[in-house]
């Protein structure tokens, strides 16, 4: 049991307690901060944005504009590894004869991979049933907050199709690249 301090000791007691709390707290702070610094490291890591990848050639895309899925195989940094690995996938379709349109397969709703289904006449998300037209427009009853994420693409003189691959934050009406 603690005894009541004499009135003159109040300040002394307060000082002692404050010091004990401060010293005791500081003891935990050093390891905790050291750990926290490392824990927060991912915030400094940036996504490999705007990776240019050659996905196919124009002539292997159906002339009727049916989208075809291609994996994106690119140099990828994963913590300590740097390797050529599949990092995602795109749908590419031919438009106006010799131009292409490309979409990230990731559903902007929650991040599952959409699948083009001829019978549904569009890209269907197997998770929450978002549906997008071949041009990437979402249908009215889709839970997705925005259209399918289009990607910059180009057809080069020799017919090669290049896509600038990016991922975007899901669940938002605005298309914001993961950075």
């Amino acid at each position: 049991m603690q005894t009541e301090p004499a009135p003159g000791d109040d300040r002394r007691e307060f000082l002692k307690k404050s010091c004990a709390v401060c010293v005791g707290g500081a003891l935990g702070v050093v390891p905790a901060l050291a750990g926290l610094a490392v824990y927060l490291d991912p915030l400094r890591r940036k996504a490999d944005n705007g990776l240019l990848a050659r996905v196919t050639s124009l002539e292997s895309l159906p002339a009727d504009g049916t989208p075809v899925m291609f994996p994106i195989i690119a140099v990828r940094t994963d913590a300590w590894n740097k390797s050529v690995a599949p990092i995602g996938a795109v749908y590419v379709r031919r438009v106006n004869g010799d131009q292409v349109q490309a979409f990230n397969v990731t559903c902007p709703h929650a991040g599952c991979a959409v699948e083009f289904q001829a019978e549904k006449k569009g890209y269907h998300c197997p998770c929450h049933n978002s549906l997008f037209t071949p041009e990437g427009k979402r249908s009215d009853d889709s839970p997705s907050a925005r259209d399918l994420d289009s990607l910059k693409s180009e057809v080069r003189a020799n017919g090669e199709v290049w896509v600038q691959f990016q991922n975007f934050e899901t669940g938002k009406a605005l298309k914001v690249a993961v950075s």
Partner: protein
């Protein structure tokens, strides 16, 4: 008596540790109205948690958390290590059973009114334990790094990003970077095996302490005289725990342990992604909050429901409040049950989902077969095994790049019909004796199966076959030539026939070069600059097929007369490796586990 001799020793230990008082408190807790079955749930949960700690630690000893080794180490546990499947099965099914026990415990506490004052802290620590246990499930689901866990967990971590302001940063911290990778696994493992169990153990300590402080909340009316915790209630608890263990063991044995889907692959389309069944209602709920209202279904509603439960002890002070609490929890459970049922019903009736599920099982079975092969899993990981496997990738490549003109056994290679009309040969069994026999059959050569859809429909070959292949004598000769040309392919399926018919094949080569004069148009056995038709040297072999697919317009093949076939390598439509996979598949060359022979 030994005990009398032991007494001084025990006295000494007691004087130093006070164990007698502790045992007294732990074991001889009074239970008003005697032991009852309705009090067993807390004990069964503690028991289930200890199963998880024990099995988890042993799994941990064999698990390796990185994107290259997670699936591989779980594969090794499941299929190679002695009893690994059983250990993993126990861990998997105990997690499932724990969820049910949590619900039962919560219901019992609510119905009996055991959550009311003075047991608020008891109830709150219980609610925290419930959430921590669900967090254990969520983090554990990803650790095998298979397609199922990978894609389902992606949905969960993507939801983090919709938290206002800090969402994207928060997501980065959860995932360990801008994208899934090594650090996702290291972090999830640290949570799953370190942080969460540590918190749970601390909270269980608190939970039991609070529980003992206020004693058991006896269900009125008391039906029997009071009893002690030991042995009456302990016996009931032990029997209930036995029931839990029995259930888990039976589930493990029936299913031969937990499922392991194909290794995670960021570039593959995995359409069978679903969370564990007890999270399905949250998954389903997302369908009803379109656009940016997603946050309501994903975070606000579940958060509010759990938040409200923390207030229940206050509300429960009034009779009406208690009834409201009960209605709230039963209503919530019924709603969750309904959503789960709706999600399951939709999946059951969705042919695309069912196809994706079949595909998932098919790929898992195949990659496990490949991983078990003598060549084993390469350092790069098991995903590469699947990506480079002709048996899995061949049909997909064929469907994508060939099937708009060609067929394979009448379909697109994957077993689906094709909407474009067939306009090139059916390549199933290409270069085999049966396939060549059809080509040299006057009734078939200009059918869609061979040249019928191409510009060679009335070409020299068709004309030659129509004119010459009818006579019985010619047919005898052609049989030998077929054997000779087909032998060039060195097909695995014809290895025995090729070895047996060496003499016939030799005669066939002679005939092709001599009497029957195939070499008027084709080169066969030696280069022929004047040849105008595809080279028969090595016809259908891997090297021949790779070159042909790469450039059918090469002088060795159709030259300038090439119909519509794309120059796959020349035009860089496919890389060499992919063409090799396609060629292997067309030739039936892929790894097959040795059949068990003998009886």
């Amino acid at each position: 008596m030994i005990s009398s001799r032991m007494k001084p020793l025990l006295d000494w230990i007691d004087s130093r540790t006070g164990y007698r008082k502790l045992t007294q408190e732990v074991l001889y807790e009074n239970i008003p109205g005697g032991a009852r079955w309705r009090y067993v749930w807390g004990s069964t949960l503690t028991f289930a948690f200890s199963i998880q700690v024990i099995t988890g630690i042993f799994l941990w000893m064999a698990y390796s958390a990185s994107a290259q080794t997670a699936w591989e180490s779980v594969f090794y546990i499941q299929f190679e290590m002695a009893g690994g499947w059983f250990l993993r099965g126990l861990h998997h099914y105990t997690a499932q059973v724990m969820t049910i026990l949590l619900a039962l415990h919560l219901l019992q506490v609510l119905i009996d009114g055991a959550y009311k004052a003075p047991r608020e802290f008891n109830f709150w620590s219980g609610l925290l334990l419930l959430q921590l246990t669900l967090a254990l499930s969520l983090t554990g689901y990803l650790l095998p790094w298979d397609q199922k866990g990978y894609w389902a967990t992606k949905v969960a971590t993507n939801i983090v990003s919709i938290v206002p302001f800090i969402g994207p940063d928060l997501q980065k911290l959860v995932v360990g970077g801008p994208d899934y990778g090594h650090h996702t696994l290291t972090r999830f493992l640290a949570l799953h095996a370190g942080v969460l169990p540590g918190l749970i153990i601390a909270l269980i300590g608190g939970h039991i302490y609070f529980f003992r402080r206020h004693g058991i909340h006896a269900k009125q009316p008391l039906k029997k005289p009071d009893a002690k915790f030991w042995p009456d209630q302990v016996l009931a608890d032990a029997i209930a725990c036995l029931g839990v263990l029995f259930t888990v063991v039976v589930l493990t044995l029936i299913t031969r342990g937990a499922e392991l889907a194909a290794p995670a692959d960021a570039a593959s389309q995995f359409s069978a992604a679903r969370p564990e069944w007890y999270f399905l209602f949250l998954f389903e709920l997302l369908k009803y909050f379109p656009g940016e209202s997603e946050i309501i279904g994903a975070i606000v509603l579940p958060g509010a429901a759990v938040g409200f439960m923390f207030l229940m002890p206050y509300l429960g002070q009034w009779k009406l409040g208690h009834r409201f609490n009960l209605a709230f929890v039963f209503g919530g459970l019924a709603g969750a049950g309904l959503l789960t049922w709706m999600a399951m019903k939709q999946d059951r009736n969705d042919p695309n989902f069912q196809r994706a599920l079949r595909d998932s099982h098919h790929q898992a079975a195949r990659v496990i077969e490949l991983a078990k092969a003598p060549s084993g899993i390469p350092i790069a990981g098991a995903a590469a095994l699947l990506r480079e496997d002709p048996y899995i990738q061949g049909p997909k490549l064929f469907a994508k790049h060939c099937a708009s003109c060609h067929r394979h056994g009448g379909h697109d290679g994957e077993g689906n019909p094709v909407k474009d009309p067939q306009s090139a040969a059916d390549l199933k069994g290409f270069a085999s004796r049966e396939w060549l026999a059809g080509l040299l059959d006057p009734a078939k050569v200009d059918s869609l199966h061979y040249f019928g859809g191409t510009k060679f429909k009335d070409g020299k070959m068709v004309k030659w076959v129509k004119k010459n292949a009818d006579e019985p004598k010619e047919q005898e000769q052609l049989k030998k030539i077929i054997a000779a040309v087909s032998a060039e392919a060195q097909l695995k399926s014809q290895r025995d026939a090729d070895a047996r018919d060496i003499a016939i094949i030799k005669q066939g080569v002679e005939l092709a070069r001599g009497d029957v004069a195939c070499t008027d148009c084709h080169a066969f056995g030696k280069p022929d600059p004047d040849a105008i038709a595809p080279d028969l040297t090595g016809y259908g072999s891997r090297a021949w097929l790779v070159r042909f697919i790469g450039n059918p317009a090469h002088a060795d093949f159709y030259g300038k007369r090439n119909d519509r076939m794309p120059l796959f390598a020349e035009k860089q439509i496919l890389d060499a490796k992919t063409i090799g996979i396609l060629a292997d598949w067309l030739r039936g060359e892929w790894y097959e586990p040795a059949k068990l022979t003998g009886k």
